[in-house]
């Protein structure tokens, strides 16, 4: 009898479950079928906290000023898993109109027929002022001549240093004119194994977090990731060797705190055990209020280049009326004035170069000490990672190469040659 009851309960749950899902999907169907000129669109995002509040406030502001369009922001959970959810929605025939998606997915998302190519919209309308977006962000939206998204976030790596540890070691603070030699010497002097103190920190989980820091070093030494035609690995060069050798030297002297990828280094920095970090504005809120810190651009070998990991707003095709509404919203949302409003609310970097000329910019820089250096550093983000479907594989190979040098399991030249050979194999394989 107990079992029968259970079955009935299960049955009831299924029925109610189905009922629930069909009732939630019905507003979407009515919205797409709306006539009368009013368009409802959905925007998927993973914002929480201040950003969550900001996206609600700004969409509300947009809806109030655009009577023909209603944008509904919907929270999809952690952005790391957004792709699976968007894929499921596409397969189910009801993709969101706009979704926040990582830049590293761009090349693969471009292969989906539902993804809208925004190039015609942007070329048709010069008031987009497209080239005002930072180059690094534009690069990640562009796949084989298509524009598959609008910049949603931009960041970059800058040098963050603990002023107290520099004073204790008796070395002058980093300047924007620092060279690799200055950096190396400082890192070694800041290292003291007896106090568990490290000159620098490096994310050593062989993920993209390991790899992009290496790319910044490679570019600073004048190297490049792939050959200009994109068909060959180019990082196995004098520049690559120089970058790997710097990593090897510092690792050998225990000057690098090796983070296992679970985001330990900010805490270690806050406890005064790390002298310098290469990190982005996302760590700013975590490190504020613990150690006296300063921010400056990365040290130079040949130049001071940095790397940026931008993300995109991607538009999916739910009919031309909704695509047009989505484009209208994104143009408004990323316009200089609104972008500055967003930056001031959240502490994210402005997406456009011209934002720094707006009257409200000083208030933004003063609200987040150090953010001005990161914002200015965007001018040093002049190169981007290749936007190709094979990049995730290339990243895995190079991640292992960097890790093998950091762990002392391979010497720099050996690691580079082996990685280059594997990357060439990936690039020549038919996809």
């Amino acid at each position: 009898m107990k079992r029968i009851c259970l079955l009935i309960v299960t049955g009831a749950l299924i029925v109610s479950g189905c009922g629930g899902s069909s009732s939630t999907s019905s507003p979407a169907t009515t919205s797409s079928a709306s006539s009368g000129g009013h368009v409802n669109i959905t925007l998927w995002h993973g914002y929480t906290d201040v950003e969550g509040t900001a996206i609600k406030a700004l969409t509300k502001q947009f809806n109030a000023t655009h009577p023909n369009i209603t944008v509904t922001p919907q929270f999809y959970g952690n952005s790391d898993y957004a792709l699976q959810k968007v894929l499921a929605a596409i397969a189910g025939g009801k993709p969101p109109d706009i979704s926040y998606l990582y830049g590293s997915w761009a090349a693969n998302i471009a292969t989906n027929p539902t993804t809208v190519n925004l190039a015609p919209y942007i070329q048709k309308d010069p008031s987009w002022n497209w080239n005002d977006f930072w180059l690094a962000a534009r690069n990640v939206t562009t796949v084989k001549g298509k524009i598959i998204g609008v910049p949603a976030l931009i960041d970059n790596l800058a040098l963050v240093y603990n002023k107290k540890l520099f004073a204790q070691a008796g070395i002058p603070l980093p300047t924007p004119n620092w060279t690799w030699t200055d950096f190396e010497n400082a890192a070694l002097k800041l290292t003291d194994p007896s106090k568990k103190q490290f000159g620098w920190a490096y994310v050593n989980d062989a993920s993209e977090d390991t790899v992009w820091r290496f790319w910044a070093m490679l570019w600073q030494a004048g190297g490049s990731i792939l050959s200009p035609d994109g068909k060959q690995a180019a990082f196995d060069s004098a520049a690559g060797l120089k970058a790997m050798t710097l990593l090897q030297t510092l690792a050998k002297h225990n000057a690098i705190y090796l983070d296992d990828g679970s985001d330990v280094y900010p805490g270690v920095f806050n406890s005064g055990h790390i002298g310098m970090l290469w990190t982005g504005p996302w760590d700013l809120s975590q490190i504020t209020g613990h150690q006296p810190y300063g921010v400056t651009i990365l040290p130079a070998d040949k130049n001071h280049q940095t790397i940026s990991g931008p993300d995109n707003w991607v538009v999916f095709n739910n009919g031309s009326a909704r695509v047009n509404a989505a484009v209208t919203f994104l143009k408004w949302f990323t316009s200089p004035a609104i972008d500055l409003e967003w930056a001031t609310m959240t502490g994210d970097l402005p997406l456009r170069a011209s934002v720094s000329k707006l009257p409200g910019y000083n208030a933004f820089v003063q609200k987040y000490p150090g953010i001005g250096e990161w914002a200015a550093n965007l001018a040093n983000a002049t190169q981007s990672r290749p936007v190709t479907t094979t990049y995730p594989k290339i990243s895995t190979v190079v991640g292992q190469a960097v890790q093998s040098v950091l762990l002392g399991k391979a010497d720099p030249q050996q690691a580079l040659s082996q990685a280059a050979q594997q990357v060439n194999g990936i690039l020549s394989a038919p996809s």
Partner: protein, 311 residues
């Protein structure tokens, strides 16, 4: 009406129609009762299993429409050195994990199968890791085993022993995962053994005591054989779980360092969800499925010859 029906039934030897038989059959009622579960399993298990078989014959990134490429995924898999390495890591892990966890559980269950003060507390202590989420377990172990600031290295230092890299050392990481998963899963095995121990008829134990058997002889000749079914179940179940190890790796080492903990399912995840090779990932899943099937059938075959069921 009833009388007449009875009469006609008495003379009418025509078989009832199919529909009538279906309606009258007990099967229908049975199926109706299990339908909710069957539908759930079909939608969330059987259909995906069938679909992923099709997927394994395709080049598919789940984003654009895929196309069929026959057995190419399987052919590539047979020549993939990384897949071979992943199989190696999985086997090493399984060969250590299964005996260690089953034997440790047996010892603990025997120790806990006594009337002791605070026995509930001890049982709870063994069981708690099982109900703790894998993510929490993973993070706790990352902290404990941190090479620079972890508690374990601190203890080693205090004892004058050399510092270890643990999860950050390619030669140690997989063994650290074994320790972590044994700790995390032990509670389940202990519960199964405890239940089996308490199911052993008291008269058998008394009989062996009267016959003058020592405690060890009783354990070896009476208790252990009677635990056979539970042992077989645990070995089969633990092996299947070990071969499908994923969560703990995903939370702690991400398959590293230097690929040292890339087990089969983690490699599958990398291929399908990081490299967008969903077809290749599905092929890996099917190879693993066939492997598990063969191993399980072998274990059950051995078990049939060695395990005695007493009721």
């Amino acid at each position: 009406m009833t009388a007449r029906a009875e009469v006609t039934r008495g003379v009418d030897y025509r078989r009832p129609s199919l529909w009538q038989r279906i309606i009258a059959s007990e099967h229908l009622a049975g199926w109706a009762f299990v339908a909710p579960a069957v539908i759930l399993i079909a939608v969330f298990a059987l259909i995906p299993i069938g679909w992923s078989l099709l997927l394994s014959f395709q080049a598919n990134n789940l984003l654009a429409p895929g196309h069929y490429i026959g057995l190419a995924n399987y052919r590539a898999l047979s020549k993939d050195p990384q897949f071979r390495a992943a199989i190696g890591h999985t086997i090493v892990y399984t060969v250590i994990f299964v005996p260690v966890s089953v034997l440790a559980a047996l010892g603990l269950a025997v120790a806990l199968n006594r009337k002791l003060r605070g026995i509930r507390f001890y049982r709870l202590a063994v069981f708690i890791p099982l109900v703790t989420s894998t993510v929490a377990t993973g993070i706790v172990f990352l902290w404990l085993l941190d090479p620079t600031f972890g508690l374990v290295n601190y203890a080693l230092h205090a004892l004058g022993l050399p510092q270890q890299g643990f999860l950050q050392d390619p030669n140690q990481a997989l063994y650290c995962i074994v320790v972590m998963t044994v700790w995390g899963w032990l509670g389940f095995d202990v519960i199964v053994y405890l239940a089996a121990l308490q199911g052993i008829p008291q008269d058998l134990l008394e009989a062996s005591e009267i016959d003058g058997a020592s405690k060890w002889a009783t354990f070896r000749s009476v208790v252990l054989p009677l635990l056979g079914p539970a042992t077989l179940f645990l070995v089969v179940w633990s092996t299947i779980n070990a071969l499908q190890l994923f969560d703990e790796i995903y939370v702690t080492t991400h398959g590293g360092p230097l690929g040292a903990t890339t087990v089969i399912v983690y490699y599958l995840y990398q291929q399908a969800f990081q490299f967008f090779n969903a077809g290749y990932g599905a092929a890996i899943a099917y190879v693993l499925f066939v492997g598990i099937l063969i191993i399980t059938l072998f274990q059950l075959w051995v078990g049939r010859k060695r395990v005695y069921y007493v009721s």
